[in-house]
């Protein structure tokens, strides 16, 4: 068990390191460095050189990389060449907003998908199960921004239940916060729930074919009871994997949803930074997003041995 933990933690550290090198390299060596990009293609060489000197861009790449990583380890993501303001507060404030969105969405997706998928598996041969499968197939094909637009049409413009855009921090008013949270969260969660439903269904179907379920049935348990007593924990493993992948997907999917609903999350900051040609901010935000994806993967891997004792003993 400690070996498993250690090797997994080491993998995480290596992946984080490689990702930081890749991100830094993409931002530094591709045509037009940060200063050039920030000033635009019409900038004079002197202006570019001046900006480079001001932010230490004329230093060798290795020095700049070490400064960047060293700063991040100390919680400092650097200074934007475009606005001249420090990047860290921007990231910290916006990532909280995105975290609320993403966590609520994955919770809602799981709450919808686990019962639906289980039901679809148990009722696999009749029309209810078939309908759930077909609906989930359609749901997967709907991009989250389309779901958002449809939800706004119905519940905001049509019924007037929720505001069509905007954001309010929970401390400014819980009611306003919740009202603005519903539509973005639902649009993110619906698509993920559709995908997750399919995986839950196939995981439950797999489990229902296992010998131990047959044994439980032979003992006289009903299918449902056999599943709940013996099967759910086994079905949980593939579902956790997929939910982890989805959490990462949601993080990036939130970029678009934040645009639709004008929510000041990290995705909005990323898009704004790209539009402003603010490469240093882009670099910092991308690093944060990739790090979060890697952390999610790590957590998923650490959950396996807790859910499945077989992995514990094998490792």
């Amino acid at each position: 068990m400690p070996v498993y933990l250690l090797s997994r933690a080491a993998q995480f550290a290596v992946a984080l390191f490689v990702a930081s090198v890749v991100i830094f390299a993409m931002m530094s060596f591709l045509p037009g460095n940060a200063a050039q990009v920030a000033l635009g293609t019409n900038a004079t060489p002197e202006a570019v050189a001046a900006l480079e000197a001001r932010y230490g861009l004329d230093e060798p790449p290795l020095t700049r990389y070490l400064q960047w990583v060293g700063g991040m380890l100390g919680g400092d993501f650097g200074t934007s060449y475009v606005t001249g303001a420090p990047i860290t507060p921007v990231i910290m404030n916006s990532v909280q907003v995105t975290a609320i969105l993403v966590v609520c969405s994955i919770v809602l997706a799981v709450v919808i998908a686990v019962p639906l998928g289980t039901f679809a598996a148990l009722e696999q041969r009749n029309w209810i199960g078939m309908t759930i499968s077909a609906l989930s197939q359609v749901g997967i094909a709907v991009p989250n921004f389309l779901a958002a637009i449809i939800l706004v049409m119905i519940f905001s413009l049509g019924l007037g239940w929720f505001p069509s855009q905007g954001w309010m921090a929970p401390i400014e008013g819980v009611g306003g916060f919740l009202a603005r949270l519903v539509l973005p969260v639902v649009s993110l969660a619906l698509v993920q729930a559709a995908i997750l439903t399919r995986y839950v269904r196939s995981a439950v179907l797999d489990v229902m074919r296992e010998d131990y379920i047959r044994t439980a049935r032979a003992k006289g348990l009903t299918r449902t009871r056999a599943l709940f007593v013996h099967g759910l924990r086994n079905a949980a493993i593939p579902v956790i994997t997929v939910a982890g992948v989805q959490l990462a997907t949601l993080l990036v999917g939130a970029v678009i949803i934040e645009q639709v609903f004008v929510i000041p999350g990290i995705g909005s900051e990323l898009v704004r930074a790209v539009a402003n040609r603010d490469l240093v901010t882009v670099q910092g935000i991308v690093m944060v997003l990739v790090m979060l994806v890697l952390v999610i993967n790590l957590i998923v891997d650490l959950l396996y041995p807790i859910v499945d004792p077989r992995i514990r003993s094998a490792a």
Binding site: A19, V255, L279
Partner: protein, 317 residues
């Protein structure tokens, strides 16, 4: 159907999970008649998926020969019209014909999908095969391991994120979007190719080929490639669906296909300001994106049923 007559059950009936094991013995499962049935009949998902994919291709190809209007023609007199005989799907805020734009949008959708999937397939498949081939030898195991670790790290960059980075570093546009989505799709192909290759390498006929002194590259080309082709095609269909979504999302953000080139994602984005008065402006491009993604997903499912009898015997979508 004559070959099935000696079977103890009707092959057209779905096999009940609970009966499968004991009735036919542990190793002589019901897979053989199931497979025969699958080869003969097209599944519903295959038919629907293939039809939708053909429809998108047809729209795009037709747009090269004929469209109702010129996509760039602005007609202020005909702005924001609903469906009519002149404009079957209505017009946008500049009076441009929506049907024409949908047809042109299909081109971009397919272009991005074909280039992105092409990149991922041509790079990812050999990487996966090589990783599996090296993993056979004690001296090459680390190469296989390093390749797959690199793959895992690339997985931490989802398609949309990589495409946004590319839009930041280069100019936002269709070109960088295609390449970024393609690179992000490489790990999927590498994984599929690797696990397929490992299966093939452990088979009897590869051992026979080895015994008759076939070189490793020859085995890869003669035995591995044809046998993993089915799985790779399934992956291509799924990756195509993902790239359609990524392109639409990116154009929706304004970081993909740039004006004045018509794209579904940007049509959807521009429709937002008219949601309360002209919801149909969002409806058509939205429907197109969803149907295209549905089509490629269903096609992938249908192909998987054909190429992977194990999945089919499970009666699973």
């Amino acid at each position: 159907m004559s070959e099935h007559q000696d079977q103890p059950f009707d092959p057209n009936l779905p096999v009940r999970v609970d009966d499968a094991g004991p009735a036919t013995g542990p190793n002589a499962g019901p897979a053989i008649p199931q497979r025969g049935r699958g080869r003969r009949r097209l599944s519903a998902s295959m038919i629907i998926g293939a039809s939708l994919v053909v429809l998108v291709f047809a729209l795009a190809l037709l747009s090269f020969i004929w469209t109702p209007y010129d996509p760039s023609v602005i007609d202020p007199a005909a702005r924001l019209q609903s469906s009519s005989l002149d404009h079957p799907l209505g017009t946008d805020r500049f009076g441009r014909d929506t049907l024409t734009w949908i047809m042109y949008g299909a081109r971009i959708t397919l272009l991005v999908g074909i280039v992105a999937v092409g990149i991922a397939l041509l790079v990812g498949t050999p990487i996966g095969i090589i990783a599996a081939l090296f993993a056979q030898y004690p001296w090459g195991m680390w190469i296989g391991a390093v390749i797959m670790r690199a793959n895992d790290i690339l997985l931490a960059f989802p398609a949309l994120l990589l495409a946004i980075i590319f839009a930041a570093v280069f100019q936002p546009g269709t070109g960088p979007a295609m390449v970024a989505v393609g690179i992000a799709a490489i790990p999927g192909f590498a994984r599929v190719a690797r696990s397929g290759t490992m299966q093939v390498l452990s088979s009897e006929y590869v051992r026979a080929a080895r015994a008759s002194n076939r070189s490793t590259p020859a085995i890869a080309v003669v035995h591995v490639l044809p046998n993993i082709a089915g799985m790779v095609i399934v992956q291509a269909s799924v990756a195509f669906a993902i790239s359609v979504l990524a392109e639409a999302g990116l154009s929706f953000l304004g970081l993909g296909t740039q004006p004045p080139v018509p794209s579904w994602g940007r049509m959807l984005q521009e429709s937002q300001q008219f949601l309360s008065t002209h919801p149909e402006l969002a409806l058509w491009p939205g429907l197109c994106i969803a149907l295209a993604v549905l089509g490629f997903n269903l096609l992938g499912d249908g192909l998987r049923d054909r190429f992977d009898p194990k999945m089919e015997a499970r009666g699973d979508g």
